[in-house]
Amino acid sequence: MSALVPAGVRTLGEMFVRASESHPGQVVGTFFPGRCLTFHELVRDGRLAAARLRSLGVEPATPVAVLLQSPVDFLRITGGIALAGAVMVPLAVSTGFTKAFLSRMRHVLADSGTRFAVIDDPYAEPLAELVPGLRVVPLSRLAGPYAHLLDDGDSDGDGGVMEPPQAGDDDLALIQYTSGSTSAPRGVALTHRNVLAGLRAIQRGVDARAGDVTCHWLPLSHDMGLFSTLAAIGGGIAVHVSAPQDFIKRPDDWLRRFCDLRATVYLGPAFGYGHLLDSVPPEDVPGFDLSAVRVMLNGAEPIAPELITAFQERFAPAGLDPRAMTPCYGLAEATLAVTFTPVGQEARVDWVDRDVLNDAGRAEPADRGALAARGIVSCGVPAPGVEVRIVKDGVEAGERAVGDIEVRGEPVMRGYHGQAPLPAGGWCPTGDLGYLAGSALHVTGRRKEMIILGGRNHYPEDVEARVRRVAGLYRGRAVAVVLPAGHGTGRPERIAVLAEAATARPPHGPLVSDLRAAAAGELGGASVDVVLLGRGGLLRTTSGKFQRLLMRDRLLAGTLDRVLEHVTAEERVRSAA
């Protein structure tokens, strides 16, 4: 019996209620401090939170921002907002309130019109001070052991049955702010119909079954983490979520716990698989038992072919089925899932001629051993209810022609919040480039200027805004561009900062060091290439606009003029004067 959200369910609130009625004893849990809630407790707490949200003035269609660190608390409040018929606005929580976090927060609140925010108690007061006009609700007010003391009498406090208000399936359920730069965030507006169709697409894509156990470490403010977790709940499946830092800092303990939980479904971006390879040496592998694992979704960022084979070979002695590795493709604009490698089929790599791909935009099959061969991992076929097409110069492209990937279907948003809806026909541009071979999708690159580091989107304009404040620049002039991965050289994709130095006299070490440290602050510590130019060295149009792509191409071709110093990310900076 495949574990799907029942057909009659049309809103997120109904899904939570049905899950607690059909699977009261099923659990949602964390990882290390083994904190678990049954679905019954989850919905009981959700009902209480919904009543308390309403008493605070949250009505149907009111957006409510959620900044909670524990996955279990995040889900209790997700249930509460859904049962109150309100609109969920999930936001990532950064440990300290950094300038970047606050600036993004203000833009998101302005864009979404959100006036309520639920946050862990210790951060409630600081946030209220930093963002006046925002009604900040500490978690304990909605779901703490003493929350009932603050109830104003009418609800009996221990879960008076309250049916969810009739939010229609075309009402807004959630606004997801994972795309768009800090200064121009774009809210993916998802209705209940979108979300439920998206959850069913995930369930069908992994062939969800009763008895499955889903485990991952992704933040629930991230679409891959949130919707895979909701898909498990909707299907009556146990799900255990750890904090990302627990996976990154203690991968071997994490994997041991994963085996103890007898997990059958795992999901995460490609770098997570690389991290496990780096952290679990071959001699330790037999100590783990991965024989229960059925599906390991691999999505959210480009996948290197050699990573898949290396992972399969390393963990075979732990009983890992090579067919478990399941490359997939998705994005927030389609709730989450677009394509899956069919369950039970091994991941496939399409070997093509790199030069024909780059120059003629066509995926010409090539022998794997050929010098100019490039392996492109197939992301599988569209999930039921989702369509994929490739568009080149405004026209649908044929087999193996590279173009813009567009998606359509019930899980796909109608448009960004507060912006014009998508054109008729509902095809949504993804900003990614790729081709179809048979009906399988292959992603080859990205049109939008963006880079994914550690599973998170980063935008050059955010790096620019940060590095322009570094002392020692001529009039604060600096730009940032994305340098593509060097497929021949194995150099990873990275950002380059091009800046005009106030003085042409060496030593330039301290300025390079300051620029790299500033950029690292924006990129979670990642290092960038730094190119120092003389005054006026940055190329501009007659109207004064920086010509970023022209400078990038010249930098790559080695024909950029006025370069004082070029320190690549691999090199060490001599910061001492």
């Binding site: 550690g454 790299r516 690292a520 979670g524 290092s527 001492a576």
Partner: protein
């Protein structure tokens, strides 16, 4: 190599252990890591490697360590100061 043994905890020992951890994770010779360098000065630093460094610092010194300290423009000796301070604080809790 736990450093939480009584009496062993000198600033010098902390700084030396830190350099060892950074060199191993970034796979660069320890000799190239100087006290006045910033971690972001070193080669090909990524957020994953910084988190891994933070994880090893926690295990080596038995403290809670926020990885953002590593790239908040401090030099390695300033990072060592922070670790030393957390170690002393941890011990006072235990004593």
């Amino acid at each position: 190599m736990g450093l939480s043994m009584a009496g062993q905890l000198t600033h010098q020992a902390v700084s030396h252990a830190l350099k060892g951890i950074v060199a191993r994770v970034l796979q660069i010779p320890e000799s190239t890591i100087t006290d006045d360098a910033r971690i972001t000065d070193l080669s090909l630093v990524e957020s994953i490697k910084l988190l891994r460094i933070a994880g090893r610092i926690e295990r080596t010194f038995g403290i809670e360590f926020d990885n953002e300290v590593l790239f908040r423009t401090g030099t390695l000796s300033e990072v060592a100061d922070e670790i030393y301070r957390l170690c002393v604080q941890e011990r006072e809790k235990v004593a």
